[in-house]
Symmetry: C2
Subunit: 353 residues, 2 copies
């Protein structure tokens, strides 16, 4: 007797971005924020009473959900709190997709989506983005039969956004649940968050990992009609958020202005970097995130290795659609100046070779 | 189109034990430890640098797994770390039970098991414990066709243990995975942990919620053959444990002696309480945990209400098999003295009425 479900046994797990320990790198590979979390986070940690840990955490994360919904005028019944947005995506598959059912998602996008579909034992409708990494005109038709359609906007790892009117059309026409993953939404010029009021089949998810500089805290939120939230609440682990995460996350949410100011700094650094890389012969996709996907004027995999040797860790994907590109997270101005210097040196060595 | 899977839509969620906010109670209802966590936990929280939170946590929890396995002579490959043992149980269902498959568990036991089976869309083999809440002799036959059999030992909410030789027989004879939930194992006289070396189909899970006084931290461990651990690692969320939980959990695991001493104190308090309740006409099941299941000499539901009015919160289950009993978590000696005083007063009022 095989002890393990066949869908699990035959799959590989998800591969997280490298967290190297062999030497010190400038980490531009996992889209972390280069700035520390809010001073309110430091205070919340220092003021936390560890004696409280003997008690269970509040299972429904009521305070967090209230704080997360408030900036958007949504009551806590419209909000689900997750142990990172990966927890929320797992809840999505388990709430909306049967084993043997069909889940649609675009490609290239977040590489966790197909892993979660395999874990659920479901079938894949991987819908190719067009040449410019836009949504294909027949997206909804291609997703026919799926009970869940996941769209990442702004998209990772390409960085671009899809037009709002296209998103409206998709949400109105798709008969199942549309999950709009706005993990990078705080860096973008606009958002689909308001859609949840209009479409009872739409969920929008956010994370505190990137914009709030809290990747190590594991905290994300899904926004949707209370009917959908109530169903997802059944599926989440009873105590999915520990007490410290709840306390620290609440402090960070109360200092939203700090987060917004950091997003602005990151965007400015990004735009300067893109202009410089343009002048060096790179082709960079328009980004509304804290990273860029850029095609260097040499083989991307060799540039990845050369950057690594010089202490700069970026992300290279073997996926054929983007194997000629590198994903570079936006660091501080000083880090990106060093990165550009390394790039120049690598290109100079390439020309001499 | 119904947006939600039918197994989810038709079920109720899990009901966690009450965490009341209306007034202050002596909480004897969710099996929390009355003693604070180790002084090492306080130090770990105070020394934690919140600036680190901008980076992702270590996805595989390598240090925690090493520390958790060490007292039992198991390498980290034999250990899985979860966001509480509820996370581990969810992983169990998702790794070992197909939608439409069969999952066996004993009854009465932890009320989360049937909820997880419903969430997976699987079928139930709920196997009744015998009159004395022992394992039925034909347990393995009753579990025929199941790919997973969950046994809680010591059992909750009854508190008793099943004989080790019976457990050996079950593990040797059952062809699927046997999951032995030792959430209360640190309070017991013996353990099935060593079974994992002998049976490649056995998983034993522990939690830091009770014995380590860390219910609010959400941290548990599953021990099994590295082959099974590798499969479960695919199923867990990539970053299921946040950075603070990893730091604080490691500190607590390094101070195992503190935990063991607290378990000893709790056991002593428990035995005194049981003797006192005996003298008041209660019938208490033999307990190897930090709680007792006891039958009061009056209707249990009315005693529950009367205790609550006097500020003592215990757990009452409507389940017909145990509806004549109350589950009482063991607090400090002072708390239990107060509890006994309340019990005496309630019984006296009952006699007068």
């Amino acid at each position: 007797m095989n002890l393990v479900r066949s869908n699990v046994a035959k799959m590989d797990g998800y591969t997280p971005g490298e967290q190297p320990r062999d030497r010190s790198y400038v980490k531009l590979n996992t889209n972390e924020n280069p700035y520390p979390p809010s001073p309110a986070v430091f205070r919340a940690v220092h003021e936390f009473d560890p004696g409280r840990l003997r008690l269970y955490s509040e299972p429904l994360s009521l305070e967090l959900r209230e704080l997360a919904g408030a900036p958007f005028g949504l009551d806590r019944d419209w909000v689900l709190a997750g142990n990172g947005s990966d927890d929320l995506l797992t809840i999505a598959l388990r709430t909306f997709v049967d084993q043997g059912g069909l889940c649609a998602y675009t490609h290239p996008s977040y590489s966790l989506y197909p892993v979660l579909v395999d874990l659920q034992g479901a079938r894949h409708a991987a819908i190719e983005l067009d040449e410019e990494f836009g949504l294909p005109a027949d997206l909804v038709q291609q997703a026919t039969g799926a009970s869940l359609l996941i769209v990442c906007r702004p998209n990772a790892p390409t960085g671009n956004v899809f037009p709002l009117d296209t998103m409206h059309r998709v949400c109105a026409e798709f008969p199942g649940v549309v999950w709009i993953d706005e993990a990078y939404g705080d860096f973008a010029a606009d958002s689909c968050l308001d859609f949840v009021r209009q479409y009872p089949n739409v969920v929008v998810s956010h994370t505190m990992s990137k914009s709030y500089s809290l990747a190590g805290l594991r905290l994300g939120f899904a926004f949707a009609d209370p009917g959908l939230i109530a169903e997802m609440l059944k599926v989440k682990d009873s105590y999915n958020l520990d007490m410290m995460t709840q306390a620290v996350g609440a402090a960070a949410l109360r200092d939203r202005d700090y987060m917004l100011a950091n997003c602005q700094r990151v965007r400015a650094t990004r735009d300067t970097l893109v202009a410089t890389l343009d002048s060096l012969g790179f082709h960079t996709l328009p980004s509304q995130t804290n990273f860029i996907l850029t095609r260097p004027p040499m083989a991307a995999d060799r540039m990845f290795v050369a950057l690594r040797e010089r202490g700069y860790l970026v992300r290279y994907f073997r996926d054929p659609r983007i194997a000629d590109r590198l994903r570079v997270s936006i660091g501080t101005d000083a880090e990106m100046a060093g990165f550009v210097q390394a790039v120049r040196a690598i290109l100079a060595a390439e020309t001499q070779a």
